[in-house]
Homo-oligomer: 155 residues x 2
């Protein structure tokens, strides 16, 4: 039996490794870093839109920024909240509250609102009307805050 | 004169601060962190597309991932290579070679090729044909490498 068991074990391990590779699986650290990268990059683009609304409106820049936010929002970031990402991992810190992982239905609703708001902003930006962008930008900010308030540690 | 000078100095400082805020200006550290966030997030999405091409093709996931890459590529990342971002800033490390900042015309061409390749990938992904995605994905990988080879320190 030994060879069979050994073969099976190796086979299982190979299958698991292949499965991880095929799924593009990230370690918990990588998941935390990648979701933070997404938020950082969205934050930069939010800042550009805010600056445009407060100064000279740059329609092309706003459109590009809103597209980046919407595409990131719709990229499936939920996959970056896997097991083991509910707390700091070594030097990789996270501000997420453990409560997020216990309220997935609520989080799913907030995430849906966020994607809708991001899509609305991209649509408004494509239209080029600064007033519509301002409204959609405010709505997106509220959608961000709704989740931060409940599930980010320092909000 | 003192009150006038003082007022002028305060006025200038206020104008400078407002100017920075309006431009959404980031410190060199923030520029480095934000551009790295963009590359990290694109890298995650490249990984998902690669996994889909190697395993069961998930057309929706590939489309979302390609959209994220294209939108990030077209978000104006050139603004994140400002003065002072050509070397490490404190704890914020960068792998960029100083040569990048001395060859802006070449960098502009490479960046243009990268955006074109990212747009082509998004278009192929929208079409849903895995073969077309594979070709466009390979082309985008080459466009990434072309810049890394010349301007990233460890390539």
């Amino acid at each position: 039996m030994k060879p069979f068991l050994a073969t099976t074990a190796v086979g299982l391990m190979a299958a698991t490794l292949a499965g991880s590779a095929l799924a593009g699986a990230l370690s918990p650290e990588e998941q935390i870093e990648t979701r933070q990268a997404g938020y950082t990059f969205m934050g930069w683009n939010m800042g550009k839109i805010k600056a445009s609304l407060q100064g000279d409106y740059d329609a092309d820049q706003v459109k590009a920024a809103a597209n980046a936010i919407a595409a990131i929002a719709n990229s499936g970031m939920g996959a970056l909240y896997g097991p083991g990402t509910d707390k700091d991992v070594g030097d990789v810190k996270t501000r997420v509250k453990p409560e997020l992982f216990e309220n997935m239905q609520d989080v799913g609703k907030l995430a849906g609102d966020f994607k809708t708001a991001a899509d609305n902003l991209a649509e408004a930006a494509a239209g080029g009307d600064a007033g519509a962008v301002k409204t959609a930008f405010g709505d997106l900010g509220q959608a961000c805050k709704a989740c931060h308030k409940k599930y980010r540690a320092d909000d």
